[in-house]
Structure formats: C-alpha cells, structure tokens
C-alpha cells in the first residue's frame, strides 16, 4: 500500500506479463492445432451444398439432427464397444501394471518394453494379424474344435466380441502405462505403514494402493475410452455384419461420399457424446479427489 504509485506503475507491466508470456507458446499451439481446426470443422458442419458445386455457409443445423437420426445406433454402439474395451483394458491392464510396478523388480523396463513391443508394428497389420490367429479353424479355435470343446460353427471373428477384443488389445498400453506410473509413485513405506496398522494384503490394496492409483486409472480410462470409441479400424477388419462404429460412418461420409458437412457434424456429435460421457465419469469418480491425490 505504501509503495509509491509511480514506481509501481513502472515496474508492474513486465512482472505482470511474464507468466502470460511464458504460457504463450502453449496458447499458440492450442490455437493453431486445436481451436482453429475445431472452428473450421464446426463451420463445415453448418454448411450445405455438395462437393462439385461447393459448400456454402448456411448455418444449417439440421445436418446434426439428420446425422443423429440416421446413425444413433452406431453412435451408441461405439460408446458401448469403447466402454467394454475400456473395462477389459482395466481388468487386464491393472494387474499387469501392478505386477510390473511391485513384483517385476529390476526387470521393470524389460516388461514395459515387451508390453510396447507389438506397437512397433503398424496398427492395421497388427489388427489384421488377429484374423489369422482367431481364424475359424486357426491355431486357437482349430484344436479346440478338434477336441470337441467347441461346436464346429463357433467363431470369434466377425462378432462384436472380436471388435471389442481388438480394441482392448490395441489400446491396452494406454491403460497400463498411466496405471503403472501411478502405482510406481506409491511410496512402499505406505504399504509397510498399512501392514503395521493391521491391514492384511486385501485391506492394504483396497484402502491404500487402489485409492492412490485412481489418478492413473482415471487417466487410463480416458486415454483408452476416447480413442477406442472413435476407432474404425477394428470394426472394419474384425467386425461382422452389425458391428459398424461411428468412426466407420465418418470415414465413409468423408472419403467415399465427400459429404464434408455430414462427416463434420458426425465428428462433433461423437466429440460431444464423449465429452458428456467423460464428464459423467469424472463426476461419478469425484475428479477433485482424484486430482488432489494426483497433485501430491
């Protein structure tokens, strides 16, 4: 209060601007690679016309209604498949991450590398390879059928299970890595403290390890659910007659039908639906708590 106002006015601007200048590159990045494309897409989704005659801005919101009316089945299916794949990733990924973090000892990095190894192969080839592995009379199902453990017409490929399985397989590391990082950060002395305070293995896990790893689970669920719901490769390669996901529709609309407004509107519908789903999830889990633990 007692500082002379003149001096204050002279010194203030630089000091006050510094933090903003420091985040400027981040803002520019966001503006150039997120805000601008989103605005372009939003604009596109409101245009009408066709590829040959051009698209004109008419603020036609009806495209959204049409898209939703035509493709709500695929949209809901995408969320269901994405959600199911995320649950699979969590059920498989959490124990894997736990094992690597607490039991793998000094070979941790080896196991993490092994986990990532398939991802040095192209996404499509990797997915396509399941067509060979899970072929109706292939290396897995063939012997089982031969032994009479499965009926002859049993198949996994071309079913929703194949698509969900493919999604879970492809996005597993997106679950394992953040969960691993969260578990790795758990101070081993907390586990001793829990044991010292009469917690057995189950209680130590449920009361200490699990809550402390929730930020990782939260991140893992987001990183898995969002891209899995928007994926189109798995449905195209592993799917059957009724497994089309919204990503496949968007791909057809954009690349085959050159219906840019329709494709843009569908993309926004997907984005909106995912945001709502993520928001509800965050609410259910109590983000504040999660972020608070994460911030420690």
């Amino acid at each position: 209060m007692s500082r002379p106002p003149a001096r204050r006015a002279r010194r203030r601007p630089v000091a006050a601007l510094a933090p903003y200048l420091m985040v400027l590159p981040g803002w520019l990045w966001l503006a150039a690679f997120f805000v601008a494309p989103v605005l372009v897409m939003l604009s596109l989704s409101l245009q009408t016309g066709d590829f040959i005659d051009g698209f004109r801005q008419t603020f036609h919101v009806g495209t959204y209604g049409d898209a939703l009316a035509t493709y709500h089945t695929q949209l809901v299916r995408s969320l269901l498949y994405g959600g199911a794949a995320t649950v699979c990733c969590l059920l498989i990924g959490y124990p894997v991450a736990y094992w690597i973090a607490f039991r793998a000892g000094r070979h941790k990095s080896v196991y993490l590398f092994l986990l990532l190894l398939p991802f040095f192969v192209s996404f499509v080839i990797r997915t396509q390879s399941w067509n060979v592995v899970l072929a109706d009379n292939g290396v897995v199902l063939g012997p089982l059928k031969h032994l009479g453990l499965l009926p002859g017409d049993f198949h996994v490929l071309a079913t929703p299970y194949a698509v969900i399985g493919g999604l879970a397989y492809n996005f597993l590391p997106f679950m394992v890595l953040p969960v691993y990082v969260a578990l790795e950060r758990v101070d081993p002395r907390l586990l001793e403290a829990a044991a010292d305070l009469y917690a057995g293995r189950a209680a130590t896990f449920g009361r200490v390890v699990l809550p402390l790893s929730l930020p990782g689970v939260f991140a893992g669920v987001l990183l898995t659910f969002v891209p899995a719901s928007a994926d189109y490769v798995n449905a195209a390669i592993l799917g059957g007659p009724s497994t089309t996901m919204i990503g496949n529709i968007i791909q057809t609309e954009y690349f085959t039908n050159l219906d840019y407004p329709g494709a843009a509107a569908l993309s926004f519908l997907l984005m909106g639906t995912l945001l709502i789903a993520v928001f509800l999830y965050a609410r259910a889990l109590g983000t504040e708590d999660v972020l608070e633990v994460a911030a420690r």
């Binding site: 002395r189 001793e192 403290a193 010292d196 305070l197 200490v208 608070e292 633990v293």
Partner: protein, 410 residues
C-alpha cells in the same frame, strides 16, 4: 554395578533398571542379507543382538548409520525376518508372524502418512482394521488428536500440515491402537532443531501419559541422552553397551561408546604398577599409567589387568581441572600447552596439546570456580579424580570394516 557390556549378558539380571518381565526380548538376533546383496557384501547387518526392554520403558537404540539399529527395529516390527535368534514380545516368539498381526506399531522416519486420507482417517486406520465399533473409533481418535493437540486439524489432508504436525499425526496414528510397544524410527530426523527439541519433550510427556514401551532409534546422542530410560549403543551390528544415559555417558564401556557419546579424551599406555591404591581410594585397586616426565594417569584397575598390559583410559572434558603447578600425590597429572580457547557462555572449552602429542579437551565452568583461566600458549597441568578415569574394554572382535553406510535396510 558392572557396566552391562556387549557379548551376551544373561537376560534380566539388570533388575535395578528394568521392571520385571521384559516387554521385548531379543535373543541372539542375527540378520544376514547374504553376500549377494550390494553394500552388505561383508556379511550381516545385525550380528547377534541380545536385549531386554522393560515394560513402559523408553529405550533407545543409538548408533551411527549402518550400525544395524534400524534393521533391529524393523525386525521387531516384522518388516524383516531375522536369519537367526528369537524375538519375544511379552514372552511370545514373533518370528514368522507378519507385521499386521504384531501388537506393536511403528512411527516411520518419513511418517508414511496416507496422503489420500484425512488426519482423522489416518489415525482411525488401525482401529478400523481391528473392526473397533464406530462410536469407539470416533472417541479414541478424538481423544488422541487432543493428546497430540491436532483436534482442529482432523479434516485436513497430511500435505496441508507442517512437518511437526505430520509427525504428531504419525504418532497419534500409532498410539491410538494402544500397542504393547511403540517403535520409533528416527521420528524427529526431518524436523529442524528447535522443533526437534520441543518434540523431544512432547514425546517424553506423551510416553509418560500413555505408559507404553517406546523403542526409539536415533543417531543423535543428545536426543538419546535426553529422552531415554536406557540406551543401547550399537556399532557394526553389535550392541556395545546398554545402560541408563548417565552410565553410558560417564562410564563408556568401549572406545567406540566413549567416542560416539559426547566429547571424550582417550589416553593409552601400559600399566606400570599393579599395587593397591591408597586409603583415599576406599580400598579399590588402582593402577598407574606412567607417561614419563612426572606425568601419570591413575585409574581404577580393570579386572585381571597385569603390569605391562596395554590400557586405554577415557576421561570426560568437564571432569578435568586446570592448574598452574603439578598436583602431588597419587592423582592423574598431565602437562600440556593450551592451543585454543573457545568461550561457550556457561563454560569455556580448552584444547590442550600434551607433551606426547595427544590433544585433550577440557571444559571449565565460567562461574568463577575455575582455579585457572589460561590463554593460548600457556603451559598448564591437567588433573582429575581417579574415579573419573575409565579404563576401556578392549575393542570387540573387529567388525570387518563396516562400510560407510553399510546395509541400509529398507
């Protein structure tokens, strides 16, 4: 009473300071990580420890880092299994019993508070595991938080508290369970000096209030002396001396203890005269270390010491008085030159170099009772009562070069 030294004292003979029925007994406990473990290639972290810790006692394990004190504590808690010997909690052998089934609680050096739980939930953690009724949990947590003066912080998260407050939460979280014994692993190590001193008093108060056995690990000799009923000084995986603070301080049993606790002067030489002392020594046998040139050290004669045998003697700095002329009679007297004088307020510290080259430290009170207050370069005579000469036991079987920070157990 004979100093309760090293190598296997028969348990529970020390009735003067230990209440009957030890709370914790360690019988020849060994922890050997095996040669393959880094940093412990030289063998065991704990090489055969026998201790009896009495009910309600404040017992400290004191020693430098790597001496095995933390490993010993963790074995009592159950986080490490001994490779040999027995650990008895109230007479029951605990070897093989997991930590969650031992009726002791540990206060961690880093507190290890659960970051995702409130202060109250941290404190209630153990009670909930024991399925104590809800109402009782609430009451006990509340009372315990009052005891550690944190009742108003019950809903905070640990990271919202200061270091001293976190420390008290850690203490409350352990004490609320009313364990048979509380184990504390350098609990004040992370606090600054002032806070540490107030927490020392606080800990002592709490211990008196709850009346639980405390086993306290520290490398800080002042802390151990301040708080403990008894101290076990450890070095190289062995206990060098067990006793009340005064005894350990004034009558160190080994050169290590003498050196580790307080400032000590050690003089060595060969025993010149094994005859009995004068009447003034009340019949005790005394011996003399002749340092030549009229200088000598008179000491109570160690058991079985023969003329000519090598002896080390220690004397505490504040027991020595300075004089301008050599004292006469059968008393210790050494001549030296004052090399440094440090004024310390209530006392002054003199560094005196003897004719044989040994540097001795002398404290003299500044209350006007000092016979002489010499300056740098002055020649002085040092003397002290024979009772303050402590012959040191020969060093125990040398621990094979304990590494700088040997087995650092986790």
């Amino acid at each position: 009473m004979a100093p309760d030294t090293l190598a296997a004292p028969p348990p529970a003979h020390d009735t003067a300071t230990t209440p009957p029925g030890p709370a914790i007994s360690l019988v020849d406990v060994v922890k050997d990580y095996g040669g393959d473990r880094k940093g412990a290639a030289n063998g065991a972290a704990v090489r055969g420890v026998d201790l009896d810790i009495g009910e309600g006692e404040f017992f400290s394990l004191l020693g430098p880092s790597g001496c095995g004190k933390t490993t010993t504590l963790r074995m009592i808690a159950g986080f490490e299994e001994p490779t040999g010997g027995r650990i008895l909690l109230h007479g029951r052998d605990m070897v093989g019993v997991p930590p969650d089934q031992r009726d002791v609680n540990l206060v961690f050096q880093s507190y290890a508070l659960f970051p995702h739980l409130s202060v109250a939930d941290n404190v209630a953690f153990g009670l909930r595991r024991h399925r104590v009724p809800k109402g009782e949990i609430h009451d006990r947590v509340d009372r315990m938080l009052h005891t550690v003066e944190l009742a108003d912080k019950a809903d905070r998260r640990p990271r919202q508290l200061s270091g001293g407050q976190q420390q008290r939460v850690a203490l409350a979280r352990a004490l609320v369970n009313r364990p048979r014994a509380l184990l504390l692993d350098e609990p004040l190590g992370a606090l600054d000096l002032k806070l540490r001193q107030s927490m020392q008093l606080e800990l002592k108060r709490i211990q008196r209030e709850v009346g639980i056995t405390f086993v306290y690990v520290t490398h800080d000799q002042a802390e151990a002396l301040t708080m403990s009923d008894r101290i076990a000084v450890m070095n190289g995986g062995l206990v060098e001396q067990v006793g009340p603070p005064r005894e350990v301080y004034e009558r160190p049993a080994t050169a290590f203890v003498a050196g580790f606790i307080g400032t000590s002067n050690v003089l060595s030489g060969r025993l010149a005269d094994s005859g009995t002392g004068s009447g003034a020594e009340a019949g005790a046998r005394t011996g003399v270390l002749d340092l030549g040139d009229g200088q000598q050290v008179v000491l109570p004669l160690p058991e079985g010491a023969a003329a000519g045998s090598p002896v080390e003697v220690t004397v505490r700095p504040e027991k020595i008085t300075l004089g301008a002329a050599p004292p006469t009679g059968r008393v210790s007297r050494i001549r030296g030159t004052v090399e440094e004088v440090v004024y310390l307020g209530t006392s002054s510290s003199y560094a005196v170099r003897t004719a044989t080259g040994t540097e001795l430290t002398v404290f003299q009170p500044n209350d006007g009772t000092a016979a002489l207050t010499p300056g740098r370069g002055d020649t002085v005579w040092l003397t002290w009562a024979t009772a303050h000469s402590y012959p040191l036991a020969p060093a125990p079987a040398p621990a094979p070069a304990p590494g700088p920070d040997a087995p650092a157990p986790r």
